[in-house]
Symmetry: C2
Subunit: 328 residues, 2 copies
């Protein structure tokens, strides 16, 4: 594959992201060199995270929202993280037939990120993909994830604003949503507020408005709110885009956006370090040979977690002191 | 100091915890050997985490609650984590004059854990102190923390049941409470439901009951609830103890308690490993000399977080490969 020198079209952008996601060191190196040269062009976007359980209508919502945003003169990139997919297998997010109108639009770029079972790794690369999209001129970045695992927290940690999509219903729609996710939301969108479900959607919206008031005192610069929408009919989409704009303006004006991004960047650096160190630790043959046994002893209460941890650390460091390679 | 052979009285228990908290390796070794011999005696308690902002009346609540529990024939240990205190300085939690009746009772053991600025370390030792208390025959363990930082999450991660104390008021009482804490709560207690504040407390309780229903669908084995209490008058204390008993019974009957504790123990083992590795990394002289510079470059957007992380990892591993000691 020839070197990528710019990412001015969707094909070269897609190739740059593929390089970034590659497990080959030379590919990653090339992608990082490219990104380093493009850094001054990054940052000029609003970064929106969107989550919701399967069936909430994420694709329909993102298509309607994305097309509306493009109509307002913006360029939209959608990066989808799907912890349930694999590199080769099919997945709801990898399905190219969804968001068909949006994906065909020249001002949109849609990119599913299969995780291959290891969320951390891909979420890390998704952060870099986001920067590449910004450098390519996309000024509205949507990072989408299924609301069923750890990925929501990872995503909330890399975006400016976090949207939670909910279904009308009895509150049971939260069954699949992890503790703490509602409190991460800057905007709750109750989708499918049409037809028979319209009244129920209004009720859910009112309930969450009340809950959000309890969770988020009003003296912060942004008061999270709940809103209804019908992605199918397009109802509520302009209001949601208006809220995003309002959020961005308030956060930008008082400096919170820059502070938030700086904090995210530092914590991202430390996450990279932590994940690399832990990977080296877990993949060390003499350590990994003992992990199962230690975990079992801890679970049975035969040994304290601290003792088990120290035992594994000793193995790791002794091997290391013997001159064996620290890294696999 | 002579060796500790048992922890049958409060003095020897307190000394064992002091050894555990010591930074001297031989002290820790002795404490861990002792704990290892006592492991079969641990686990027979209900572990309750309690948090709330300063001023919510935690001391008054724990004193009233602890005395009530002792009246029911139990032995109560209170371990307090105060991220704002230091080893030498005074602190609200270190104040020996608080909980004066409870601390004088022969069936109670109260232990403040100053953190000296590093929460992780002490929270780790608090977990072991909890086990030592169990081995010493305390069957109700209360781990108390101030609801202003990271410590609530650490505490929620080491207990069976998590109580959040709130004040009557307009919702502003949550100002100091981190996002996600309300969703960690198994029981919300609105304290100071007496005198002029009684009506307001009832209203806050009703609001949180509604919010909890939105956050926690009813099909889990335990439905978190909100309750009012006046620790000052003792109102509501028996009801709270009843809820704790109900929680413990339900969780024990369906096996959730054991599963929850197993999961906590494994995650504790990995936390120990992660913290040790990260401490070695951060304290490595050649790494620590570059951290500030890297963080600044990341914040200014001159370098990506990933590049900065890799640069620091390279320094760490190169030094190591040169044969320098990995550990300080």
């Amino acid at each position: 594959m020839t070197k990528i020198h710019d990412i001015t079209n969707r094909t070269s952008l897609a190739r740059a992201i593929t390089l970034m996601e590659s497990t080959r060191a030379d590919h990653q190196q090339e992608a990082h060199t490219l990104l380093a040269s493009l850094l001054p062009k990054t940052g000029n976007s609003i970064r929106i995270g969107i989550t919701g359980v399967p069936g909430v209508g994420k694709s329909t919502f993102i298509e309607a929202f994305g097309l509306h945003v493009i109509e307002q003169g913006h360029k939209v990139a959608v990066l989808a993280i799907d912890p349930s997919s694999t590199k080769t297998g099919g997945s709801i997010l990898g399905d190219k037939t969804r968001m068909s109108k949006l994906s065909q639009h020249e001002d949109a770029f849609i990119r599913p990120s299969p995780t291959g079972g290891s969320l951390g790794g891909v979420a890390r690369r998704t952060r870099e993909a986001m920067l590449l999209c910004e450098a390519a001129g996309y000024d509205v970045i949507i990072v989408e994830t299924v609301g069923v695992g750890q990925s929501e927290i990872e995503v909330a940690d890399m975006v400016d604003m976090f949207l939670l999509l909910l279904l009308p219903g009895s509150g049971d729609e939260l069954q699949g949503i992890k503790k703490g996710i509602v409190e991460l939301a800057d905007l709750i969108v109750v989708n499918k507020a049409d037809g028979d479900l319209a009244a129920s959607a209004k009720r859910v919206r009112a309930d969450y408005s009340a809950a959000l008031r309890m969770l988020h005192p009003s003296n912060h610069s942004w008061q999270p709110k709940a809103i209804t929408c019908s992605a199918l009919l397009g109802d509520g989409i302009p209001e949601i885009w208006h809220s995003v704009g309002e959020f961005a303006r308030i956060m930008d004006d008082n400096g919170d956006l820059q502070r938030h991004r700086s904090k995210q960047a530092i914590s991202w650096m430390w996450k990279e370090i932590r994940e690399m160190l832990m990977n080296q630790f877990k993949q060390h043959p003499k350590v990994s040979a003992r992990i199962g046994e230690m975990e079992e002893a801890v679970q049975k209460g035969e040994i304290t977690p601290t003792q088990a941890g120290y035992t594994l650390l000793d193995i790791f460091q002794k091997v290391d002191a013997d001159g064996s390679p620290l890294q696999e």
